[in-house]
Structures are given as structure tokens and as C-alpha cells.
Amino acid sequence: MKPFAYVKPADVAGAVRAVSDEPGAKFLGGGTNLVDLMREGVERPDTVVDVTGLPLDTVDQLPGGGLRIGAMVRNSSLAADERVRARYPMLSQAILAGASAQLRNMATVGGNLLQRTRCPYFYDPAAACNKREPGGGCDALGGFNRSHAVLGVSGSCIAAHPSDMCVALAALDAVIEVESVRGTRRIPMTGFHRLPGDTPEIETELAPDELVTAVELPPAPFAARSRYRKVRDRASYAFALVSVAAALEVRDGAVTAARLALGGLAAKPWRAHEAERILLGGPASEESFARAAEAELAGADVRPGNAFKVHLARATIVATLRELNTGKGTA
């Protein structure tokens, strides 16, 4: 590991100053992703700014019914929060489907949002990877790509975004609040992560010196009936092959509200706008669910190793919507 300086500021102003003063600095949350990457020599910060001492570790009620989640709230605390469990069950389920209890106890909301892909070539400094070394090529294209993305990919990078939590946040229209020495701004979750295009090394709209301070969840009454389903290689402690966050409101057999986001499938947490468009106002039927899934996945760009994901995604989407429709899906 490359030697680095370590600082632990006590307030947000100190944290953002520390990073803007030092171009080679990185924020450190729970460290469950950053430290691994530093060990592999993939991340090589000169300074590590530990933000876990910042007073951003509460979940607060917003006027109008939403919630404001501090960026330092640990994943396990967020999943256990009663308001989250009652109003946004898909978010609680998504977090609990991720990693292990020990990791969730360490991981922060901010760190989860910014965790990096699990593409094995990205982790191996001896491999060619445009995300790690822009212009170096992409060994995943012709290599082992079972875990890779089929939506939103480019010829430069087919890495999948690994987060479970982010899939639920994308479905819930969350808003990310960020702060830097230049002030505060708000970025919608669906626009927070970027598609790889020709610059897979740029993963979010966040500038390197911007700190995530909070995530806001708007009120979403229909989300009280929502589900997160995750398909993976073992019963726990494995990344998603495919995951689905869905909420569905049905009146008189017709869909009156639908939210759908997909994980494991795309370069970013994938909000399924096309599927939602088809579902909305249509019948709450198996055929309609299948059509919506089909439409969303029509643009899939597959390789031999990950072609199965399209079929698996369709089955998972339909199964999740079916379950919500038959009313058994509340947490």
C-alpha cells in the first residue's frame, strides 16, 4: 500500500477544506471498499480524510413526509430504522440483502453511494482496464464477464454497479445533497451516477472535492408496498447477479403508480423508465408485466458470459411485480 496521511476532521467545513487543499485526497467512510482498493494499489490517495466523525449520522423527518438521511448513517442503522421499514420497505430490504452484518455495520450511506465496481479486472493492476487506467483497454470485453452489465454499457467499459442500496434509492427518486468549498448542491439520484461512454473512470456527477452530506427521500405513499429481490450465487454475502426494486399501486385492476429499478444489470443503478411507462395506466397482468420487462431489456448489449442476465432479469421483474400485485409483497 502506498503511504498516506490520515486526518479526521470534526466538522463538514473542515472535511471539505481538507480535500480541496489536497488534490490527492479521498474521503474515507467505513473503509470497506476504499481500503480494499488501496491494498490492491487501485486507489492511491496521498491523504485520507476520515469523515465518520462528522455529525451527519441521523435520519430526520422532513416536513411533508420525506426523510433526510445523513451520509454517515451506517447501512445497518438505516435498514433498521422504523420509518424506513414502514414507508420504504424496498430500501431496508435492499440494504439487508447486501454484504454481511459486519460490513453493514461499518459501511456508510455516502460510501455505499460511491462504492466502485467489482469487475475483477478493475481490481487487478496487471490487467487492462479503462476505468483504472483510461485508454488502457478493457480485458472484460473478451474475458470473464459473467458479472458484468448488459444495460448502458459502452465499448470502453461493461462494468456493473454493485450496490443494492442504490437500486432502491433510484426507484424512490432520492436526492443527493453534496457540499464543497464552493457551497451546497442537490443532485437527483437517477442523474448521480454516469454511464461509462468514453470516460468510464468518471463514475458520478460528484466533483472530487465534493462531500456527500445527505440523501433525501421524498414522500412516496405507494412505496409502502414495495419489494427488493436479489438473485445471487448463495443465500447471503454475495453480489447481485440481478436485482429488482419495485413498487406497484393497483386500483381496479389498473396500475396507478409503478416504480422499477434494476441492479446487477447496468453500469449504474438502473431506473426502468421505459417499463414504468408501459406499466402505468395498463392492466396489472402477467402479460403487461412481461411486456414492460421486455421493453426495458430490449436494448440489452450482451456478451456470451452474461447473456443469461436478460432472461434472469425478465423472470425476476415479472415475479416481483406479480408478487406486489397479488398483495403479498409488503414487508
Binding site: M1, G41, Q93, L96, A97, R118, P120, Y121, D124, A126, A127, G143, F144, R229, K230, V231, R232, D233, R234, A235, S236, Y237, A238, F239, L241, F308, K309, H311, L312, R314, A315, T316, V318, A319, R322, E323, K328
Partner: protein, 733 residues
Amino acid sequence: MTETASTTTTAGQGVGESARRPDAVLKVTGEFAYASDLWLDGMVWGVTLRSPHPSAWIRSIDVGPALKIDGVLAVLTHEDVPGVKFFGLDRRDQPVLAIDQVRYQGEPVALVAADHPETARRAAAAIVVDYEVRAAVTDPRQATDVVRHQPVRRGDTFEAEVVVTGEYEVGMQDQAFLGPESGLAVPAEDGGVDLYIATQWLHVDRDQLAPCLGLPHDKVRLTLSGVGGAFGAREDLSMQVHACMLALRLNRPVKIVYGREESFFGHVHRHPALMRYEHGATRDGRLVYVKADILLDGGAYCSSSPAVVGNAASLGVGPYEVPNVRVDATGVYTNNPPCGAMRGFGAVQACYAYESQMDRLAEACGLSPVEIRVRNAVSQGSRLITGQLIDAPAPLAGMLRDLESMPLPEGPPATDLRALPGGVSQTTRGEAVRRGVGYGVGIKNICFSEGFDDYSTARVRAELVGGEPHVTVHTAAAEVGQGLVTLQAQIARTELGIANVTVATADTAVGSAGSSSASRQSYVTGGAVRAACEAVRKRFDGLPAREALERFGPIEETREYRHRPTYPMDPVTGQGDSHTQLALCVHRAVVDVDVELGLVKVVELAAVQDVGRVLNPQALEGQIHGGSAQGLGLALMEEIQVRDGLVLNPSFTDYLIPTILDMPPMQTKILENPDPAAPYGLRGAGEPPTLSSTPAIAAAVRAATGLRLTRVPIRPEDIALFNNGEVSDGKRT
């Protein structure tokens, strides 16, 4: 220096009881000292530079930049190996450090010692190696360099009324022990070296080490330190020579401990296999012939591939009576990671294939999976395909009937969501869940085979300590977590009637105990401890222990124990009495499969195993559960992903082993039909359950899905794709 495994147990528990393990509480509370905890003041740290390429010439190695780093004490290459530059279990074909070429990714190229592990790592990264990358042989079908080809030929009828064929594949499994490779080498005043090491076989380590160090055997002394699991992966050398080379060069203690990722490159794996089988039978399901081609990828070096090939050949059709046989097992060299010993050792791969074939045959003959197996089952008096007579009880048919009559779990599907495929994350609500039941049968040779001089040595000393009779048992047998320390004490208590027993730390100050592998230590070291105890007891002259020891003073005896000799397999026909003992285990698996999402939940495993004699019920249950879990891993998730010779998942994030949520409850039935040739009539128990659980689970998934599933591990896409109706490539039965 940390405490090693020397232990005193005072509970008066002998053979046949669940004697308490001295390491149990320490392990559960995190206080057990593993080899990675070894510490000596003044020690320095060794780090290994490894090849990033699976195949390359080395043009030059420049250690200059590493030597310039503050805190670096030594940088060594192959030129610094003091003695013989190669080692190996079977053939000395593996260089201590790469000489002019590298043959697999992760091959050690240079060593660094520094005052801090991080400094050493940075220095290793600063070494400049100029590689000329060359084409790598990574497809075993293209490999021309054969490690061993072993045919088995019997009979000449290769026509039958019913014929089923199949091609099967087993992925590369890792032993995935939790305690990574670790050792501490301490230079001695006599110019020799003392090595504290987590290993499976102290003496074979020493026999390879001493020539490489250019030292006589008696100047290389090994002491076992806390072993965090082994499963075959510690049978080959890892850093033993490296740590000793650095220690001797610097005249300072040197510790090397691998990290998790390095561990994946630091030990051999289970051979991946490509297998083609043809079974011929009469219409009523009696086997007429079996033809099999078994191709095992041995990777870059020999390791124990020859013995693995021998097992795959001699046990290649399973515990069935087959009059006509044409089996060819072949191990080849490639530029993939070296493969060698892992629990089940060649028998595992064949078992998956021949059991899959038995299910196909059952279907073709209109018989149940149990019935087809019963009709062909071996029993005492049968002959293996090698012509060897099974001269001990082998009640396979009865075991299958017992298994079949065990109650089935409730369902399907389960109502508790935790029990559904996908588990606690509630991936499934049970809508597309199908239940399947499958059976698997396995046969494993116990102890070393094919003429190996297989023995163990025990030194037993009885004396009065504080006026109380006390026994010390000293062997070189490695406790790798299986409970051998406990068992040695149990045997001493039973044989000498003395409750206070100390099992001394295993080291090379006593004769060889052989390897903690091939399910052999209870048999061979158990036999040696018993023989030494008998010799001590004889010297009691019929007196009670206390009186005898008061009268005669301390009594010490050392004994070697050998099992019945075995013989090589004929190189052309494979015939010969190559094994000394055979063990059977049968499994029934019940699975729930979500056929839409491809998720499998093993609902229950049931097993019947004949162990000859139960020596420690709790330890035995542990072996059966653990072996079954390892077989479950191979069936459903465990695979080292190798692409073009490169390992893609060297971490426990990406190499998946079953968790407690994946492992179901088990029903077990243990039979005790003694083997008259073995001490206490026992039969080795550690490996057989690993064999049969994999095909049982695969069969259950096939039963639930109707798919052929010819490869393990079975992954979600292998199931989900076909049931979406999207793909139909004839793989459906």
C-alpha cells in the same frame, strides 16, 4: 514465541466417547494461536514476489531498486538458493524460485526481507523483472505433456441392451481454509534452522527442505504451529524454503504470512476434470460395462497429480460390480494453477460423473435411483475393477435402503421464508419452487495406496507427576482441526487406564507420522499410539499403573505402525491390490429450486456412512457435516474462475463457499461394521462424505428441474435460462 498446541486433558474420556477438544474453547473465543500469530522479538518479515503471467521467459531480474528501500534487509532470487533448486511431493519439478521461466500466474520469483511487512511488500513491487510473455497452454485438451496416464482394463464385452453416455465437467475447487499459509524460521546456533509451520506433513516438508537448503536432515527441525484448516492444501510446500533461506541468510528469525489473495496463489487446488462416460447394462439394470475417459488438469507442476490420477482410475466406476471396464485417467501439465491434494483426491471428480450416469441409467431402465444402485452395489467379496478383493464389510445395498427409509422433510415448499431458495433475503415467495430428491454414492480409498511405505511413529511415556500417573504422547502427526490431538489422548487413556494425558506438540524430534490426509491419521497414527501404549503397558508387568511407575520409574516406548502393504497398479491393465482400505458414504439430498430465478436451496442432506468403529462421535459428526458442506460447495457455488491461465476471483468476496444459511440440517446414520485389519476396526471417515454429497445435490436439482446439468458447480443461469423457455439447446432431458 506463542504457545503451540501442547495440551493437557484431564477428563477421563477414552475411545468411543465425545472427549472434549482442548482447542475448542480457544478457537471459539478467538484465543487459539494460529501460525499467523507466531511472534519472536527481533523477527523480520518475508514477502514473495510472484509472476503476473501464466507463461513467460524471464530475461532479467533487477533487485537494485528494492535494495535501495530503507528497512530492506535482503532480496533473494533463484541464484541464492543454497542447495537443490527444485522441490516437489512426487517429482522434484518445481523451482524454489523461478529460474529462467514462469509456468503459472503466482509462481514465486523473488523474496524480500524487511523490518516491516509493508516495507517488504513495497520492495517486492520495486523489483524489476523483464518477462518475455509466451503462449500459455490453458486448455487441458490441447496439452501434450502428460503427468500420468493410467488405464484400467477388464473383460472384453462392450455391447449391451441399454447404453447411456454423458460428458461431465467439474470446475476447479479450492480448499478455502481460513488460516492462510504462515511460518516462522529461526536460525540455530548449529548452523541449522528451526521452522514453526502450519502444515499437514512435517517430515515430507523436511525431506524437501533440507536438500534445498543444502543442510543435513538433522539440522532442519520443524514444529507444528496452529493450523487453520488444510484439506490437502498444505501437503505441498508453500513458503517453507523461502522463510528458511531468508533466516539463514540474515541470521535472524523470519516470518512469512500470506494474505487471503496470496493464499489462493500459494497452494494447489482440486483438479478440474473433463469426463466422458459410457455405461452399458441389461434391460433390468445390471451393469455390463463402463467406458470412461477422465482428463484432469494438473496445472504447471506435478504435485500429487500421479496419485490423483491413480484414484480416479481405480475408483472410476464407483462401488459397483462391473465385469467389463475400459477406464483411462490422464493428468496433464498446463499453465493453469497447479492442482494437487484436496479432500477426496481424484475420487471426487469421478464420483460426480459415475453417479450422474447411474441416474441416467436408472431412467433408461425405468428403475428408481436407489434400485439401480442396489442392483449393482458391491459387497464384501466383490472385486474392484482393479481386481482387488473387497475383504472387509461393504454393506452398500443396506446403506441405500437405510437412506431411502429415512423420513423426508416436510413440504414442498417450505412456509418459513428463510428456508426458501434465496434464503433470508426472501428472493422467492415460493411461486415457482419445485422440489427434487437425489441420491449419491461414493467410495474412497483410505490411507496411501499403490505401494507407498505408509506408516506413523508414536512415542509414549508414562511417569508419575506429583505422585499421579501421567502419560505423554508424542508424534509428528498434524492436528489440522480434525481432532487428532483429542483422539491420541483418548487412545492413551483407554490403553493405559490413565486419565492424565499430555499430547506433545508435533515436531520432527520424533519419527514421521505421514500426512494428515487420505483420511488416514486415526488409522495409522491411532495405530502407532495404540502400539506404543501396549508396549508401555507390557512393562507395567501386570501391576496397576501407579504401582508400576513407582516400582520401575518412568517408562517410554516408541513404535512404528504400518497398514497392510499395497501394490502398484499395472501400467497397462490397472490391475493390482492398490488400496488398503475402502470406505463408503451415501447421501440423499432434498432441494427446493426456484426454476424461474435459478436459485437452489438444499433443504436437507441425509447420509449413511460405515466407519467401522466410532472413536469420537462428536468429531465424527463434524467430519460428516463438514465433508457434506464442502461437497455442497462444489455442487452449487465453489469455483476458481481461471481465464487464459489467470485467476479472477482470489478472494472470499468472489470465491463463494457455503455459509451457514446455505448448509441445511442433516440426518445421519452411522454404521459400525469393523474392518478386521484396522486398529479398533475403524475406517477413515473424513473424505467419503465429500464425494457423495455433490452428485446427490446435482441429482436433486435435476429431479426438480428436468434439466441434464452436466457441470458442477451448477449456477443460477444453468437453471433459469432453460425454464424461461428462451433457450432450447437439447440440454433438456
